[in-house]
C-alpha cells in the first residue's frame, strides 16, 4: 500500500486508525486486530524511514496493538491463574475498549467537521466597528461597572483596530498626494457637495484624505470660499462640530478651475 499522506495530517493515533479503517473498508464494530496492526505498523515504519518525528502517542498505540495481536495468537488460559504476577488481560476486552474509543472519537470528529462548516460560513460575514456613541451620552460620570471591566486585551485590540482603520483611511492611490490639487477645483467640488447635500455639512467631512497636501488645499479653499461669502460656518458650542453651509454668494460663484493653483 502506498502512503501519500504524512503523519502530521493526522490528529493522533486514533485519527490514523480511523483513516486506515476507512481506507481498508473495515467494519468499525468488528476490527480484525491482526490486519489493522500490520497496516498501522507499516504506516509507522514508512514514516520512520522518512525520518519524520513521530509523537510518542503513535508508538504507545503501536505497542498496544502488538500486545493485543500477540495475545490473540496465544491460547486462552483454561482457568484464571490466581498465582500469576500479572492478571490476564483479555485481548477481546482490549479490542472492545479500543473500538469504543474509536467510535467515541469519531463522533466528536464528525461534530468538529460540522462546526468547521459553521466557522467557514461565519467567516464570510463582516461587520463594521461599533459607532462612537459618546456624542449621544448625556454624562460620562457613570462609575465603571466592576463586573464588566475591560481588560488589557480589549485595550490592545482597540489599538490594533485603530491601526487597521488608519490604513483603510489612507488614500488608495498614493500618487494623489504628489499631484497638484488646484484650489479652484477643490472649491467647486466643495460647493457641489454642499448643493447635493442640501443642508450644512460638518467641517470634518471635508477632510477625508489626510495627506498634508489635500488637507492644506481643502483648508485654503474653505477660507477662500468664506472670504467670498459663498459659504458660512457655524459652531453651536465649544468643541461641537463646525457645520458648513452655502452662503448668499453661492449662486453667482464660479471658480476658474485653473485659479489658485498650488
Amino acid at each position: 500500500m502506498e502512503y501519500t499522506v504524512k503523519i502530521d495530517a493526522f490528529e493522533g493515533p486514533l485519527d490514523l486508525l480511523l483513516h486506515l479503517i476507512k481506507k481498508l473498508e473495515i467494519d468499525i464494530y468488528d476490527i480484525p486486530v491482526a490486519e489493522i496492526t500490520d497496516q498501522y505498523l507499516d504506516f509507522i515504519h514508512q514514516m520512520q524511514r522518512l525520518e519524520l518525528d513521530i509523537a510518542s502517542e503513535y508508538l504507545v498505540m503501536a505497542a498496544t496493538l502488538i500486545a493485543m495481536k500477540s495475545r490473540m495468537l496465544l491460547p486462552k488460559p483454561e482457568l484464571p491463574d490466581e498465582d500469576a504476577d500479572e492478571s490476564y488481560e483479555d485481548p477481546e476486552e482490549t479490542r472492545e475498549a479500543l473500538m469504543q474509543q474509536l467510535i467515541d472519537y469519531r463522533r466528536y470528529k464528525e461534530a468538529a467537521e460540522e462546526l468547521r462548516t459553521n466557522e467557514t460560513e461565519r467567516m464570510q460575514l463582516f461587520s463594521k466597528l461599533p459607532s462612537d456613541l459618546s456624542r449621544y451620552a448625556s454624562n460620562d460620570t457613570t462609575p465603571i461597572p466592576v463586573s464588566g471591566r475591560a481588560t488589557i486585551h480589549d485595550m490592545l485590540k482597540a489599538f490594533q483596530r485603530m491601526m487597521i482603520r488608519k490604513r483603510l483611511e489612507a488614500p488608495l492611490d498614493t500618487k494623489i498626494a504628489r499631484q497638484v490639487l488646484p484650489i479652484g477645483r477643490q472649491m467647486n467640488e466643495m460647493i457641489g457637495t454642499l448643493r447635493r447635500a442640501g443642508r450644512p455639512v460638518s467641517f470634518d467631512s471635508f477632510f477625508q484624505y489626510r495627506d498634508r497636501t489635500s488637507v492644506v488645499v481643502t483648508f485654503l479653499a474653505l477660507l477662500e470660499l468664506m472670504k467670498k461669502n459663498v459659504i458660512y460656518c457655524i459652531q453651536k458650542t465649544n468643541f461641537a462640530d463646525i457645520m458648513i453651509g452655502l452662503g448668499e454668494g453661492a449662486d453667482e460663484f464660479e471658480a476658474g478651475t485653473d485659479a489658485f493653483n498650488y
Binding site: 490528529e11 509523537a55 474509543q101 470528529k109 461534530a111 459553521n118 466557522e119 461587520s127 459607532s131 487597521i164
Partner: protein
C-alpha cells in the same frame, strides 16, 4: 420600531444589539414583539437581492453583517482584524468540550488520544472556552466549558443548536442543565475578554 431597530443595529455594528437593549430603548415593546419584528427584518433582508446586508443571531441578540457574497469585497473594507480559522486540533478539542462540559484536560486527551494542552491554550486565548471549576478529589483538575463567544464564533444562538452527535450517548437534558448552571458565568467571561 423597525426603523429604530435598524438604526441601532447599524450603530452597534460588530458589537451586536441585545434584545434587552432594544427593550431599554423601546420600553413599550415586549420581547416577543421585538423578536418577531427582527425575524421579519431578517427574512426581508435575505429576500431583498438589492441589499448587501443581513441580520444574524447572537446569544441574546442580533448583529448586522454583510451577506456572504460580499466577503471578497468586504475584506478590504473592514477595520476588524481577520482571524485565522481554528486548527484541526483546536476544533476537535472545542467540540469535545462543548458536548462534554465541564471536562478536564485529561478527559479530553482520553477522547482524542493525544496531548491537547496547546489546543486548550489556543481556545482559552480566543475566549472560546473558560475554566468553569475544579474536579473533586485529588489533583482537583481544572474543568473547562464553552463561553458565549463560542456560540457567536460558530453562529449558534444557543447550545441546543449544536449538531447532534452521531450515536447520541449524551442525554440532551443533562447537557442543558449543565449549560444553565454556567450561563451566568459565561456572560461574565465574555465581558472580561
Amino acid at each position: 420600531m423597525r426603523s429604530i431597530i435598524e438604526g441601532l443595529l447599524y450603530l452597534t455594528g460588530e458589537e451586536g444589539l441585545m434584545v434587552d437593549q432594544i427593550k431599554g430603548v423601546i420600553p413599550d415593546c415586549s420581547e416577543h414583539e421585538i423578536r418577531n419584528m427582527v425575524e421579519k427584518m431578517k427574512k426581508d433582508n435575505l429576500d431583498n437581492e438589492s441589499s448587501g446586508l443581513m441580520i444574524v443571531d447572537l446569544p441574546g441578540g442580533y448583529r448586522l453583517t454583510t451577506k456572504p457574497f460580499m466577503a471578497a469585497y468586504a475584506e478590504k473594507f473592514t477595520a476588524i482584524p481577520k482571524t485565522a480559522p481554528l486548527s484541526q486540533a483546536a476544533l476537535e478539542t472545542v467540540a469535545i468540550i462543548a458536548y462534554k462540559q465541564p471536562i478536564s484536560r485529561i478527559a479530553i486527551e482520553e477522547v482524542r488520544g493525544v496531548k491537547s494542552e496547546r489546543a486548550i491554550q489556543t481556545l482559552m486565548t480566543k475566549g472560546l472556552i473558560k475554566e468553569v471549576g475544579r474536579a473533586e478529589g485529588t489533583g482537583r483538575a481544572i474543568l473547562y466549558g464553552i463561553t458565549s463567544v463560542f456560540l457567536d464564533y460558530f453562529g449558534l444562538h444557543t447550545l441546543d443548536e449544536l449538531p447532534p452527535l452521531l450515536d447520541a450517548a449524551i442525554h440532551p437534558n443533562e447537557q442543558l442543565d449543565a449549560f444553565d448552571l454556567f450561563y451566568d458565568k459565561y456572560k461574565e467571561t465574555v465581558k472580561d475578554l
